[in-house]
Amino acid sequence: MTTKVLNPTTAVDHYRSLFRARATRRVGAEPPWLADLRAAAMARFAATGLPATRDERWHYTSLAAVAPVAFAPPGEQCIGLDTGDLAPLLMAPGAKARLCFVNGRLAPSLCLAPSLSADGIGRGAPSPRGAGVSPTPAGDDPTGVHGRPCGGPAAPPERSALRLAGWAQAIERWPDEMAHHLGHHLGADQPVAELNMALACDGAVLFVADGVDAGRVELLFLTTATSEPLFSAPRNLIVLGAGSHATVVENHVALGTANAFADPVTEIDLGARAQLDYLKLVHEPGSFHTATVAVTQGCDSRLTAHLLALGGRLARTEFATHLAGAGGSAQLFGLALAGGGDHLDLTTRIDHDALATRSRELVKQIVTGRGRGCFSGLVHVHPGAQQTDARLTNANLLLSDRAEADTRPILRIDADDVKCSHGATVGRLDDEALFYLRARGLDADEARQILTAAFATEVVASVADPTVAAAVRARVDRRLTELLEEPR
């Protein structure tokens, strides 16, 4: 593997040169509003550079190892995978709609379209500010996603009013909506999200029309081992109309140990009474992953988010939800399984910014070997957000003496009529519990496995969709077995 080493101070220059290279390549292909967004993002990134640990939100995670490597987007690639190869990786098997990206690029042959093409059917899909585009025959589809290879019968109209497309197609077909949402759900001072905006080349875009049940959608991001250090910046947008429902799984997985730096951003907008079950999983051994997920929640919307990290040389997810409408509720579940070579970081932020909003957050970390799991959780109750009801819980299980779990739950309360609590624990497997199981004839390894899995159960069991829950259970169990086999 050839790795060009950069002088640390030139990381900004490196990404600026990637920015210029892509701007030249894409000139004329992108609308001016997007070029402006990108330029502004690049300028903000250049001003700060990669985040440093003096930034509170990056307290536990240093990108010092990312800075000197010349990660770059892949050139022309031959995918060499077919849908059969995906089966063991899928977290939402049987989903009617799936987009698959390989090393950050849409891989049309691995995608599954929702049964109807682009804009669903006219009457089901509202077109805010007239942005709707008339359906195109599948053959004209530039991404090749729509209409193939689904093959099945057309879904009933009320389920089909979803629009799912790759980034390039979405920009082309729904520019007004894209411009309306892109970057608008993110907070300020997010250098890795700025870097994403500057360099994003692909991603998944999902619009679900008012009142529609979109069912299950899987967004699969595969990293394959490459000889060159690989950079990818997927940019996802999920917009749920009023009263709509969806289950979206964002699955980041590396095939083998890859030398990659993935910098994904997912923006999510939930309309009034919309309900989203969102699950993000990352399992990228040997790679760097700095994800940003930002949600805006309307009145009475309900978000359930599962943030699962099963491995990564450095895998960090920064998740924020803004409860902007009265009566909105967010349920967050986090699970990190860190083995010897893993540094996992989950940084969450919940902003209660309207009347009578509710949040529940439960984060569990299991760490073994020399692994490290870091959790920072901020709950901010803004002035005027009366009747906020928030609870934040973090529990950590250390399986070795060298393992490290960090926890920083923070409540910031600027309203008076609120109910808020938080708690964090760090512990080891309970000797009494181990002995109890052994006294029933289970051997010591089996007892450890059972108790470790039990620690994760609360999070795994809270996945509502039974198919996704079973896939999560299997993935988690497999990873736990590996963890328990590692030297302590």
Binding site: D430, D431, E432, A433, F435, Y436, L437, R438, A439, R440, G441, L442, D443, A444, E446, I450, L451, A453, A454, F455, A456, T457, E458
Partner: protein
Amino acid sequence: MLNIDNLQVAVSGNEILHGITLHLPAGEVHALMGPNGSGKSTLACALAGKPGYQVTGGTATFRGTDLLAQLPEARARAGLFLGFQYPVELPGVSNAMLLKQAVNARRRQRGETEMDAMDFLVAVKERMAFMEMDETLLERGVNEGFSGGEKKRNEILQMLMLEPDLAILDETDSGLDIDALQVVARGINHLRSPSRAVLLITHYQRLLDHVAPDRVHVLADGRIVRSGGPELAKELEARGYGWLTGDVAGVEAR
């Protein structure tokens, strides 16, 4: 069945048992009584192999084999059952799953095939009915949120499923209401057979009214200070331990 000779046990460097000798033949039920802190649970845990319970002298054999050399799980599979004084809560570990694993671990040990899901369910439900337990407890986490009485019944349920040769029941009667006490006693009597033995650790005569012991031993300050027939328990009930605890010369129990 169980032969303990001059057993000495230390916990964190402190000797708690100063030489226990106790012989429990097959077919018998022995009661072990004694004041709080006298070492009853220490003996039970040492016999079951709890880590941290260091045997500093003496021997213990179970059906002729050296018990002390074996891992706790091996002792359990060989047919030793410890009913815990304080059953542990295991959130996230299903009660049914634990029972099934435990039963199959013992069956594998005996060279029997594992029980299939259907036979297992039939067997558990039959025993739960016998123990007057709510079937919903099966799907709950092991002892998770169980009442004190439910935990003790659950211990006996496990015992009935595992059909051990030797059951050491550490205060399984404590904290039970009158009806529950009878149910638990029924469970113990059900297990009683010429090929099995039971060591009942208890503070109260009332369990022994339902489960008649063959012998009664009194432990005080890490030594067996008196052994006798069932009448000894009645005498303790009337007189307390004071008259015995002065008498620490040590008595051979048999």
